[in-house]
């Protein structure tokens, strides 16, 4: 918590102007933030301890204009929009699983057209939220297309590292060795046999104005990144870790602590790629061994045996390689 409270004092000074509208800076103290109205309200049916609504609420704290939110099919969508109720205090659209990016890109295109014609007066922002299944896997094409086309929109992947809504199946965000219902820790194959892919880097390769990786455990970092994403002059992508107590097999009150371990082990490094400049936004003072993150979660329990120890070593090697690469990239591009 030390870094966090230090950060509380660093207000951002910046006042930016977008299309003639001078916007107030995003509040960065807890007190001020708590006064901002919640756009995702209580009463939704997400599980206790779910990381997704925490991430969403933090991101929406950076918002200063009306917004249209798009949702991919998944836990966040089904649990917040059970007709005739909604937990969203904004315009919201869900169409299907693999196309949140395409759908919101159409909304943004309509906005551009109608605003040019003077038919829409207010300034709007556009955010799509998808799980890792809807983003890394089935929705990757739609996401890539929307980013390449330059829509002014933010795509947020709330990444709980598996398909949770359908009952914890592996996705390409699921780490090596994890026990899921389609990569069970069996006696012949101990969990997921292949490593996760690096979607944040794939999105950075789209050369869009802003890409970042964040975690709700480091809330100020996340809100600042959301602010940058929302005010980028073009598409922006945020990959946000989001604990799933059921899928990760953790207690519902340990979420923030466990996500913080992902950050402090560099399993989930916090960084941004701002107009091509890679910058690590948080460097842990002592990088903890990946085991500390793994051992807190039931999905990795089977790795802590003599015969599966090598998987932990492989995971550590992956983390180290990736961290080294980030250090080099941030050196090279800054």
């Amino acid at each position: 918590m030390a870094e966090q409270s230090a950060a509380l004092d660093t207000r951002h000074e910046r006042q930016y102007s977008t299309r003639g509208v001078v916007l107030m800076p995003v509040p960065t103290t807890l007190k001020e933030l708590s006064k901002k109205p919640e756009i995702l309200t209580g009463g939704h049916r997400l599980c206790a301890g779910c990381g997704a609504p925490i991430a969403v609420r933090q991101i929406l704290k950076a918002l200063e204009t009306p917004v249209v939110i798009g949702n991919a099919t998944g836990c966040l969508e089904v649990a917040t929009s059970i007709y005739p109720y909604t937990a969203w205090r904004c315009s919201w659209i869900h169409t299907a699983f693999e196309n949140a990016a395409a759908t919101i890109s159409g909304v943004e295109a309509a906005y551009r057209s109608l605003r040019r014609q003077g038919k829409v007066k207010s300034e709007f922002r556009f955010i799509a939220f998808g799980g890792d299944g809807g983003t890394y896997d089935i929705g990757l094409q739609s996401l890539s297309g929307a980013m390449e086309r330059g829509h002014r929109m933010v795509y947020v992947c709330y990444n709980n590292e598996a398909y949770m809504n359908t009952g914890i199946q592996r996705s390409s965000a699921t780490p090596l060795g994890a026990d899921t219902t389609t990569s069970p820790a069996g006696s012949a194959i101990p969990g997921k046999p292949v490593p996760r892919k690096d979607l944040t880097a794939i999105m950075a390769a789209h050369n869009i104005p802003y890409v970042a990786q964040a975690s709700p455990s480091n809330w100020l970092d996340l809100i600042k990144k959301a602010d940058k994403a929302l005010n980028a002059d073009g598409p922006a992508f945020l990959n946000v870790l989001a604990i799933c107590p059921r899928g990760w097999r953790t207690e519902s009150n340990e979420g923030v602590e466990i996500m913080r371990l992902a950050v402090d082990t560099c399993y989930w490094p916090l960084y941004e790629v701002d107009n091509g400049v890679w910058r690590i936004t948080y460097k842990p003072k002592d990088k903890k061994p990946v085991e500390e993150w793994l051992k807190r979660q039931g999905r990795f329990k089977h790795l802590f045996t003599a015969e599966n120890k090598h998987i932990i070593e492989e995971l550590q090697a992956e983390v180290d390689r990736n961290w080294q690469r980030l250090l080099e990239l941030s050196e090279k591009t800054s």
């Binding site: 249209v68 089904v78 659209i93 196309n99 890109s105 909304v107 309509a110 207010s122 086309r149």
Partner: protein
């Protein structure tokens, strides 16, 4: 009144889209629709339309973006064919369920496999139960006219449903035709401004599109959709009458060609109707009482009107450029037969599947159908109800 020009079907469709001047078009190329996207791109890049053009990476995204745009209160269009329509399939149902007045030309092409780029109707017939209104067009003129009328039909407050305007790949899309077009101002006056009832972009009135509706509500959404379909025929008729005032061209739910006193009738959709009319004229000249019913509105299906037009016939042959693989004949055949079931007088009926994958259908093929009908009529029964016309057996 408009002027005469020589255009291909695709040029005519692109021109209709230019004159409709949608707020958003999201589209992806596929043979034989590609020209439409290309012509429209030129309109955008030459500043001839106000449209925000979204060059999506797939048809699934084309329909998704069109849905997003329409939900945001834009007049939104796309266009496709065949595999493209198949890839949209998931989203077609969502567009109609969200009651979005999207208008989409579909240039009919066979579905894979094997892959084939030529005309048949398996693509749009495959989407017949997706909740879209379907209008079929014999010619470039009809494709053009249907597209303009479709905007009014889709946006009518009693309807608020998407419309596909179907016409034949290559035969109509690439064939050059002399047609009469309206002035830009006539089109914009005819379609008027789009005033959405709900929009995602109204900051005072946030709306939800696409919530989760479970056992307690889903059915009611679907019932309302079915109810809206019952209102479509009246709107199509009214819009047709208004369109006649502007264009001088007459549109009904279907076209009757020398059908009134006919004893033997053929039913067909799209360009083959032209060939069939030739044969009807020829047989009429020989004193034979033959006629044609050309399908225009296939969804919703105008069952009373079609039953009334056909029940007094002695025999009806329905030509389908698509199969259902149900062993019960083509899709139009099944609807026509079902529509006739409650009639006191019921003609004999025959199904002909023809022209799959662009197989040519000529005057001789149509003549053969009429002579088969004559033989069955004389025999008083149909011995081969399901037939494949022009296939090498």
């Amino acid at each position: 009144m408009g002027k005469r020009v020589a255009l291909t079907g695709n040029e005519a469709a692109a021109l209709a889209m230019k004159q409709i001047n949608p707020d958003v078009v999201a589209a992806y190329p596929i043979t034989p629709q590609t020209d439409i996207v290309q012509y429209f791109s030129s309109f955008v890049h030459d500043g001839k339309v106000k449209t925000e053009f979204v060059t999506v990476e797939s048809e699934h995204s084309a329909m998704s973006a069109t849905i997003g745009a329409s939900a945001a209160g834009a007049r939104a269009m796309t266009a496709t064919s065949s595999q493209g329509l198949a890839l949209m399939w998931e989203m077609l149902y969502i567009a109609s369920s969200y009651r979005l007045p999207i208008v989409m030309p579909v240039v009919n092409r066979a579905l894979s496999g094997p892959i084939n780029i030529h005309c048949d109707h398996s693509d749009t017939m495959g989407a017949r139960d997706s909740g879209w209104i379907q209008l079929y067009s014999e010619s470039a003129q009809e494709a053009y006219d249907n597209l303009i009328q479709a905007v009014r039909i889709a946006e009518h407050p009693d309807v608020r449903l998407p419309v596909m305007v179907c016409f034949d790949g290559f035969i109509t899309s690439h064939g050059l035709e002399n047609l009469e077009i309206l002035e830009d101002s006539e089109v914009s006056e005819f379609i008027g401004e789009f005033e959405p009832e709900y929009s995602l972009l109204d900051p005072e009135h946030p709306v939800t599109f696409g919530p989760l509706a479970l056992q307690n509500y889903y059915f009611e959404f679907k019932r309302q959709q079915a109810d809206a379909m019952t209102k479509v025929a009246a709107v199509v008729r009214r819009v047709g009458m208004e369109f006649e005032k502007v264009s001088g061209r007459h549109y009904e739910l279907f076209e009757e060609y020398r059908l009134g006193d006919a004893e033997m009738a053929m039913v067909v959709a799209n360009s083959t109707a032209g060939t069939a009319k030739e044969v009807v004229d020829e047989l009429r000249a020989q004193g034979k009482k033959v006629g044609l019913l050309k399908i225009r509105m296939f969804r919703p299906f105008p069952k009373e009107e079609i039953a009334a037009a056909l029940s007094s016939k002695q025999i009806v042959a329905v030509l389908d450029r698509a199969d259902t693989y149900s062993t019960m004949g083509g899709p139009i055949y099944n609807e026509v037969r079902s529509a006739l079931y409650d009639e006191k007088l019921r003609p004999l009926t025959m199904s002909y599947i023809y022209g799959l994958g662009g197989r040519d259908v000529g005057l001789d093929d149509i003549r053969k159908v009429f002579s088969d009908m004559e033989a069955s009529r004389t025999a008083g029964k149909v011995s081969e109800p399901i037939n494949y016309l022009g296939v090498h057996e």
